[in-house]
């Protein structure tokens, strides 16, 4: 019979469609895996952002991956609580993000309402601290946009959430 470890191994091949260097294990969105019998598996996931459109694609890819491994009955459950946080992202995942050119989350999420405050995010290309926030919102819900005043390149930052 298939084991939980095997399933986690297969799930580690499912990548984030927007940031394909990250697997869903790196992201920390797999909450639980239950093997019901040799044909049936239940995977519990927690969405990153409420409206994240990648979650539907990820659910579909989980289903297709497990089907391709011979699992016939796949149930994907959504668990909202405890809420997903970037604290659950693996260190491995953060390194991959940095190499890919996206500044990874570097601190715990905060509920600070400090107005006009910027995070001090180092440039993923040249490492400089001399960077500036362009916008809290970028191409996807999870990222913000910065520019580096040293190497002059723009870069995205995966927000500490």
């Amino acid at each position: 019979m298939v084991t939980k470890e095997q399933i986690y191994g297969w799930l580690n091949t499912v990548t984030d469609p927007e940031v394909p260097v990250l697997t869903i294990i790196d992201l920390g969105i797999i909450r639980d895996v239950k093997v019901k019998d040799e044909n049936s598996v239940e995977v519990t996931i927690t969405p990153t952002y409420s409206g994240c459109p990648a979650m539907d694609v990820i659910a579909m890819n989980i289903r297709m991956t497990l089907l391709s491994k011979g699992i016939k009955n796949i149930n994907i459950e959504n668990q909202l609580s405890p809420a997903w946080t970037t604290d659950w992202m693996s260190e491995e995942g953060k390194k991959k993000l940095n190499n890919y050119g996206i500044a990874p989350p570097y601190r715990k999420a905060t509920s600070s309402l400090g107005l006009f405050e910027d995070d001090n995010v180092p440039c993923p290309r040249c490492g400089s601290d001399n960077t500036e926030l362009t916008s809290q919102f970028a191409a996807t819900a999870c990222k913000s946009l910065y520019r580096c005043n040293s190497c002059k390149e723009p870069f995205e930052h995966f927000k500490c959430h």
Partner: protein, 269 residues
Amino acid sequence: MDQRSLLQYTLQLADNALILGHIISEWCGHGPILEQDIALTNTALDHLGQARSLYQYAADQFNTLPAAEKSSFFTSSAIRKIISEGKQIDEDDLAYLRDGWDYRNILLVEQPNKDWAYTIIRSFFYDTFNFFFYTELQKCSDTSLAAIAEKSLKEVTYHLRWSSEWVIRLGDGTEESAQRIKAAIADRWQFTGELFIASEADKVVGIDLAAIKSLWKERVAAVFSEANLDVPADGWMHQGGKEGKHTEHLGYILAELQFVQRAYPNMQW
């Protein structure tokens, strides 16, 4: 908590999220600069995501109601039709097949975009409320609503920062920006009262709206002060949205939102 009240309550919250998300998304491609166009569309996406979670929960609740309750819950003919066929409903049925009088959103979120200042002030009033409201809703005895609140609060925190910062930029900006935000405040202030007027469902769930009102007023005053803006005097307030009595604007919003689904039922692509 009785089933009927809990469902009404869930729909109140879901409808607010959907209508505001939809109306904000009208800015897509029309933002004053690219970064703000993206900021608003990201925000709209958050609202729509929250709406989905809430509608999914509402659909699950509806499907477990006794038959007599189901047949009398809505008056819109499109949704009544599928209910009478004995089908289970889902999030899409709730969003696309109800007419205005079955919608329970507050009137503030259906008011038109008009210009940047009107859009900012609508979000600022609503985001400030949502921040304190979701903070309380996390403690709700209903675990699904509490979980949705916990999730949404993180995103609402970003929304509130963004809209607060913009109130300050506009109020403490140029002569034109100050004039525009003052006009927007004067027009939209009368829609803020409804946030704190409890519907029957609000009373059953029991979140203390009066306490939230104090926190809301304090924060609005603080941001307005930073922005060189005056807080209007309390006066007459619009209400009725939570009871399904809407302004004409909702009709146009729903027509746009629902047209394709109504014209080609169950069409997929």
